[in-house]
Amino acid sequence: MAEATQTGAAAGGGLDLSEIGKDLAITALLGAALFGSTIAFKTETATGGLSLVLRFESAFFVIAAVVVGRLILLLTVWRRPTGGDRTFVPQALQLRYADFLAKTGKAFVPIVLLFAVVFPFLPFTDRYLLDLGILILTYVMLGWGLNIVVGLAGLLDLGYVAFYAVGAYSYALLAQYFGLSFWICLPLAGILAAFWGIILGFPVLRLRGDYLAIVTLAFGEIIRIVLLNWYNFTGGPDGISGIPRPSFFGIPFKRGEGGFADFFGLDYSSIHRIIFLYFLILILALITNFVTIRLRRLPIGRAWEALREDEIACRSLGLNTTSIKLTAFATGAMFAGFAGSFFATRQGFISPESFTFIESALILAIVVLGGMGSQIGVVIASVAMIGGFEIFREAEQYRMLIFGLAMVMIMIWRPRGLIATREPSIFLKEKKAVSADMVAQGEGH
């Protein structure tokens, strides 16, 4: 039957009209049920109560659009022969794309790095673009941190933002209560976040797959709610303001005598501090990247990836999987802690509102979109996502819609993310990338 439809389709005739008709009727019914109530009837506040506005025409057009859309899909995309790869892009094109990426990838990295370094000094770079650059780099750093947990160790962590919050609040509170400077708090924030990673990880990491995802999600929320309700200590929903700004290794960014501009004989400009913040996050992000790349080639990093591939085999080889998971969790948390304290010093003000689940979801989306485990993929995804958000700032209401649509399209086009090949951590004679379909994705994906 299915075969007959396919051959018929190739000849351009012999469509199974009754099947299509049935499908469209169901679509229309579903559409009517959904939009009939939501679009056709609208309540409006009028004097003396609510009045009902009937909009049957709009509802009709929406339903018609759905039906026509489905018809087009039925006639084109969904008529592809079943079996084979599930994506809509032909295999050959995908292979060529992977080849292209592998070839350009090597040249691409130094260019991106060079651009990132000179970016603040380019003629068109203004305050707005610099702020955007800082934002993107923050997400690159967070993405790289989460990549250790999700991409390498294969543990689905939906509460990553909790450690970002721990880092931010560590700095804010240490500065508020003890007057410690940013440069002392930065490592402390990382250590505290890693410590929390271990404390939360201990009970959680016994769980597998979806359970792990749900519990990490809950922990993320718990931390946020504690911050929200512990009013005496954290300021609750009011947040913490007046967080000290970073100094240039002791030289403050201020006007006049003893300030940064004065010290270096420059004219004072508020942009100096922004440029400094830009380089600060650039260096922090690069440290994250460097450490991750380094760890991947060490036994611990290899063990993380082995854990993602097969936990039982790991145990049979004498690997203590609990401690390996904990180190992945703690290392990822530590980088989130660094990023958090950077966030606090940059904003000067933090509140629990900055650490909602949507942040975790955004960071996870960056990792998944970039291709799990790929470092450069995270950069591309961060630029695309955060930059994309900014580009569509005008189309405020549709921003999320466009974002969602783009995500769906990309996941259809490249289900394993933009950069899906895996680079081996060690080689004997020749480094060959491992193609995505062989690499396991770990638990809960």
Binding site: V291, P299, E305, A313, S316, L317, P424, F427, L428, K429
Partner: protein, 287 residues
């Protein structure tokens, strides 16, 4: 090499119950140092279950399992975590369904097996990050050991390919090489010949004989096809319905009437008759 007939692994009164099902019933056996010991029995006899108890993947309902290491230390395996059994008691295993790290290269698979010594050499990663000399040396040695095994399983050419890319027979051999890279004193293989063609099977036997001869490693071999193990085993234990029905050399086992009834020389037309016999034997033993 140590005394040939010193016990390496002793199992006493091992019992494993899954709810109402008695998968292993009061099994006692010994594997000797420098021997290839085979545990055979028809499908469903409880061989894999015995393995999983020995390697800590199941906690046995009853029984005592002792590993006697070459240095004289004894380990009570039934009390240990599964990964410690490999790490400290030097007892490595493979799986009936191959469990390689498919997305990692052949060489990486062999490196992960050497995780524990490498971790120690890298001073729990801290030294490794700064590239201390002792870690570099240890890593070089680990690669050399991996190359040594790659040569013995004829996979040197494919060292940098993904493990999932290998043909089935090579995957089996790689899994054995990976287990050997943990430096075991006892190697347990769960149906390593399953799914291999005769040529691959022959190669496998050579590999096992090599391990026995060169590595001072005892081998415990699970197999349901008796003919595979007859040629290479020093000592055979036959399991049927979770009960040990025979224990001895290949010759002794081959001529044991219970084993024949359970297993061997059953012509097609006799299957029904033998089936009855098996049930009777099993019932007898259970009583």
């Amino acid at each position: 090499m140590a005394d040939k007939k010193a016990p390496l692994l002793t199992v006493e009164h091992l019992t494993m119950r899954f709810g109402g099902l008695l998968a292993v019933n009061d099994l006692s056996m010994t594997a000797y140092r420098g021997d290839i010991t085979a545990l055979i029995g028809p499908n469903g006899a409880g061989k894999t279950t015995v393995f999983n108890c020995l390697t800590g993947f199941y906690k046995p309902t009853e029984g005592r399992i002792t590993m006697h290491r070459n240095d004289g230390e004894d380990f009570l395996l039934e009390r240990m975590d599964d990964f410690r059994i490999t790490k400290n008691a030097r007892f490595a295993r493979t799986f009936q369904n191959i469990r390689l790290f498919g997305g990692m290269t052949v060489l990486e698979n062999l490196m992960i097996a050497q995780h524990n010594p490498l971790m120690r050499a890298s001073k729990q990663t801290i030294g490794g990050i700064f590239g201390i000399a002792s870690f570099k040396r240890a890593e070089k040695e680990a690669i050399e050991r991996a190359e040594y095994w790659l040569e013995h399983i004829n996979l040197t050419q494919r060292a940098d390919d993904a493990a999932a890319d290998l043909p089935y027979g090579d995957q089996r051999k790689l899994e054995i090489a990976r287990a050997m890279c943990t430096g075991p004193e006892l190697l347990c293989l769960d149906e390593p010949a399953a799914g291999l063609n005769p040529a691959e099977s022959e190669e496998l036997n050579k590999l096992l004989l090599f391990v026995r001869a060169e590595c001072d490693t005892g081998i415990l071999l699970i197999e349901h096809d008796m003919n595979v193990v007859m040629g290479i085993s020093d000592h055979i234990i036959v399991l049927d319905y979770g009960v040990k029905i025979a224990d001895g050399t290949a010759e002794e086992v081959r001529s044991d009437p219970k084993v024949i009834a359970a297993y061997l020389g059953v012509e097609d037309e006799e299957v029904d008759a033998v089936g009855h016999e098996i049930e009777e034997t099993a019932a007898e033993v259970r009583q």
